[in-house]
């Protein structure tokens, strides 16, 4: 059973199942919209300061939306104990992890794609720096949240109060990534600084933690 074949099959299965039970997606899309609106009421979009803090606002909004998505990463595998069926098979653990992480990445990216135009509209955002740099920032930042989020969601399977354990574990570890995402985005929006250091930091974060997750996922999966 090749690694890629299992990864592809698992990802396909997850996307199929997500498609068939659309209620979860709809609720999350609506939640993302709500977050943007609430933020707009809480942080006055007409103030001059908006451009400076917009980077932070957007990523905190993405973070909240991501947590809602991450919390149900493993929900389907826990229903009917299907995860046992995977564990009992000779399939290695990492394709399962990557399939879930990539699935979450796709899902959170969809949420971000919905929230971004709203933010741009409400806050009248116009990047004064090189706008194309926002793409690597978005990709690296989202992966940073999703890779550790998927891992900690799996860790949380073995705890009480699962839904609160995930953010509890994820937020402290994500602080450098959050600094990276927010400052990089602000740098591009205000055009006052270069985002290069922050992009490099995000890249380093992603590499370090993707490796850590791949090395340690099997260990926590088997820690019943």
């Amino acid at each position: 059973m090749s690694f890629l074949a299992i990864l592809r099959a698992t990802l396909a299965k997850d996307l199929l199942l997500e498609w068939r039970s659309k209620d979860a997606i709809n609720a999350m899309l609506f939640f993302s919209l709500l977050v943007v609106v609430i933020f707009s009421f809480a942080f006055d979009p007409t103030a001059e300061e908006s451009r400076r803090i917009a980077g932070g606002l957007i990523w905190v909004a993405f973070l909240f939306a991501a947590v809602v998505a991450l919390n149900q990463t493993w929900a389907r595998e826990l229903r009917n104990q299907v995860l046992d069926a995977y564990r009992v098979s000779p399939a290695p653990a990492n394709p399962l992890f990557l399939a879930k992480a990539v699935g979450n990445f796709i899902f959170v990216s969809v949420l971000e794609a919905l929230m971004t135009p709203l933010f741009v509209m409400f806050y009248k955002l116009r990047p004064l720096g090189p706008a194309w740099e926002l793409i690597p920032i978005a990709i690296l930042g989202t992966w940073a949240l999703v890779v550790n989020g998927t891992f900690f969601a799996a860790l949380s399977i073995r705890t009480k109060s699962r839904e609160i354990m995930l953010p509890l574990l994820l937020f402290p570890i994500s602080i450098p990534a959050l600094l990276g995402m927010v400052n990089a985005t602000s740098a591009i929006l205000t055009g006052e600084e270069s985002a290069k250091f922050w992009i490099a930091l995000l890249l380093a974060y992603d590499v370090v933690f993707t490796l850590a997750c791949l090395l340690l996922f099997e260990t926590i999966l088997e820690a019943e």
Binding site: K160, A212, I220
Partner: protein
């Protein structure tokens, strides 16, 4: 081992008292900040002690994952607990110092922020240990400790760069240290290290006994139970 404990206790008491005297009375008064600066002799050694304890936690966690040795796990747990306490001291003494001197309660300077993040990571570590329903909690905790350790350099660099872009007041020594002050600092650090060792040792022994009791209880034969049926 057990004989060393009372000796360590006495040494700790002596060092702490001596350190207290040195810090509050013998050390020279700082020129600009006055007496409130003396809190520095508690703020800084607490930070160093906490960092050292977390380093030990990291080593113990890695050892546990490789060897699955219960002693390594207990050491990891103990150093995390005591480390959080010392971190809390840093986070409390920081604002107490900052407020009268600089007029602000908090500044996102490197040491304070790094300490805050470490405190958050290790509190989450302790919560994981408490909330875990797995029979292999030590494994989960060790993995989290490794993630935390990997995070530390990233936290350091991100804050460092942020500070160079957006400078702000530093709660710290600001410049060279008078050798008499350095001397007092080191005495207090030695005292704190001994205190940390003492508390860790006690907690360690407590945990060892607790686990033995749990194990004995769970394996207890039900012979009495059957007889009473």
């Amino acid at each position: 081992m057990k004989r060393g404990f009372p000796i360590l206790a006495i040494v700790t008491a002596v060092l702490l008292s001596f350190g207290l005297y040195e810090a509050l009375i013998a050390a020279p008064t700082e020129r600009t900040m006055g007496d409130v600066q003396r809190i520095f002799y508690y703020h800084v050694p607490s930070a160093w002690t906490a960092f050292l304890l977390f380093l030990i936690n990291f080593v113990a966690s890695v050892t546990y994952l490789i060897r699955r040795n219960a002693k390594a796990d207990i050491l990891a747990m103990v150093t995390a607990e005591v480390g959080v306490v010392f971190c809390t001291v840093v986070l409390v003494t920081g604002p107490i110092w900052a407020r009268p001197v600089w007029g602000i309660w908090w500044t996102w300077d490197l040491r304070l922020t790094l300490t805050l993040v470490l405190w958050l990571i290790y509190v989450s570590y302790l919560m994981l240990r408490r909330f875990s329903t797995s029979s292999q909690t030590p494994v989960l905790a060790a993995v989290l400790a490794i993630f935390g350790a990997l995070d530390v350099p990233l936290v350091y660099f991100s804050i460092w760069f942020f500070r160079t872009q957006h400078p702000s007041p530093v709660i710290g020594d600001g410049g060279s240290l008078d050798p008499r002050m350095a001397h007092v600092l080191l005495i207090n650090w030695a005292a704190f290290l001994c205190l940390a060792w003492l508390v860790c040792w006690t907690r360690y022994r407590l945990e060892v006994v607790q686990r033995e009791v749990e194990e004995a209880q769970s394996l207890e034969s039900l012979l009495e139970g059957e007889g009473s049926r």
